[in-house]
């Protein structure tokens, strides 16, 4: 297993290219937190249960992401600033086929 490269644009519009491990059962929200790309307390509030939408992001690349679960879909239905390419970072697990993924964090709400 190897690290993958992903590009994350933070809420200030700055893009960071970071290495994300695929062998630590990490999701995108946790990657953002581990690199401190959003202030603590403003992302991953529910801890990754798809219950707060604080990790909402827009997927900018053409990767095939796993389908949304009912939980994720329902949470996005109640979130703000939602676009067609909105996903919850906590529901996207880091796997090798996501190498090169580009995402942008949605505004805090």
């Amino acid at each position: 297993m190897t690290d993958i490269k992903i590009k994350i644009t933070d809420r200030e519009g700055v893009t960071h290219e970071v290495d994300a491990p695929t062998d630590m059962n990490m999701n995108l929200m946790e990657v953002v937190r581990s690199y401190e790309l959003a202030p603590e307390g403003t992302i991953g509030v529910c801890g990754g249960m798809a219950m707060c939408a604080s990790c909402q992001c827009y997927v900018k690349s053409e990767h095939n992401l796993p389908e949304k679960s009912d939980d994720e879909d329902a949470m996005l239905a109640e979130a703000f600033y939602v676009e067609d390419n909105s996903r919850l970072g906590c529901q996207i697990r880091m796997t090798e086929d996501l190498n090169g993924l580009e995402v942008e964090l949605a505004p805090e709400s």
Partner: protein, 353 residues
């Protein structure tokens, strides 16, 4: 003015357990929480979700954990100020503190324990430009007194349990209830979804889905909302209403505590983890998810440990001349402030013939 030994800000699992540890030391506690019920995140965000890392509980629902803690601390008769947010703190000349809530309730205590988690839960407000103009003039983000809506035309937005439950409740009180949600599917207890279906069929709830509120109109107070169907490009519906209640959940904000002169780092309060979780202001402690120190883990079980050490330190601060010897609950039992007593049964000594 409410007087107590330890004033705990935040009634989540850490704050609740602090009542128990304080009780063993015969210290009385009072808790303040912005939410209308105890339990913090466990009650508000994920009451039906299981937790697997509470020592001794292979699996426990977050809501059950709160119920158990409430039962465990009952003998120590904690006081509660719920539905109010701790707003200001004042240090008196004798070193004690007065904490005042947003509703003006005053609390006086020599020790403050901030167990505020990620902060106080504030309603998430929909992104409508003029919504602030109608706050308390037809727009409310929380229902405090349902009677306000008697014989009124009410529109509720949201797709979770609170949107469903309040639509059901208000169907009997308001003259007209409209529920607007962005999807056809609702995420809530199946029972509530079915009830709304029945009320819709009976004509008691007007359901508009998939749709959202896109505008508010009124002069001095709310008079109408604009509803946009999200599927087909039909014209916006103008709905005459007296009240609009958006229920899109709550998000935590550290809030006024951030201005209390405490050292803050990464949205959390810095504490001395080598000793007692005291902040830079002597007499004010921070325990649980709200604090930070090298190696901090935001876990309920860590909060329990922090609460325990904090209480010992608080005791020493209140009674500097007393020597405290740790006594196991199995040995000392539980002596409630309510006169209740719990103790380990005595072994039976009986001779064998």
């Amino acid at each position: 003015m409410i007087k107590t030994d330890i004033l705990i800000i935040g009634a989540g699992p850490t704050g609740l357990f602090a009542v128990f540890e304080a009780g063993l030391l015969k210290l009385k506690c009072h808790l303040i929480d912005a939410l209308p019920q105890a339990g913090g995140q466990c009650s508000e965000i994920y009451p039906k979700k299981p937790i697997y890392d509470i020592p001794g509980f292979p699996e426990v629902l977050a809501g059950e954990l709160v119920d158990n803690l409430m039962e465990q601390i009952k003998p120590f008769q904690p006081g509660f100020t719920l539905g109010e947010r701790a707003e200001t703190i004042k240090k008196l000349d004798d070193g004690t503190f007065v904490v005042t809530t947003n509703k003006g309730t005053e609390h006086h205590a020599p020790i403050i324990a901030i167990a505020g988690g990620l902060g106080s839960f504030e309603p998430r407000k929909p992104l409508l430009e003029n919504i602030a103009d109608f706050e308390d003039k037809g727009v409310a983000y929380m229902i405090k007194d349902p009677e306000v809506y008697r014989n009124k035309k009410v529109v509720i937005a949201g797709g979770g349990d609170s949107a469903l439950d309040w639509s059901i409740f208000l169907a009997d009180i308001a003259s007209e209830v409209t529920l607007v949600h962005r999807r056809n599917e609702f995420r809530g207890a199946l029972d509530s979804v079915e009830k709304v279906q029945h009320l819709k069929n009976a004509g008691k709830i007007n359901l508009i889905t998939p749709a959202e509120i896109v505008g508010l109109k009124g002069d001095g107070k709310l008079e109408a909302v604009m509803v946009r169907k999200t599927t087909d490009a039909v014209e916006d519906i103008i709905l005459e209403v007296d009240n609009f209640i958006p229920l899109f959940g709550l998000s935590p904000k550290l809030g006024p505590i951030a201005d209390w002169g405490l050292e803050i780092e990464k949205n959390a309060i810095k504490v001395d983890n080598t000793l007692d979780y005291q902040t830079n202001i002597p007499g004010i402690y921070a325990i649980g998810d709200v604090n930070t120190y090298p190696g901090k883990l935001k876990l309920i079980l860590c909060g329990f440990h922090e609460a325990t050490l904090m209480c010992q330190s608080a005791y020493q601060r209140l009674y500097p001349d007393k020597k405290y010897v740790l006594k196991y609950t199995t040995v000392g039992g539980i002596n409630g402030f309510d006169g209740s007593k719990k103790e380990a049964p005595k072994a039976v000594v009986k001779a064998i013939d």
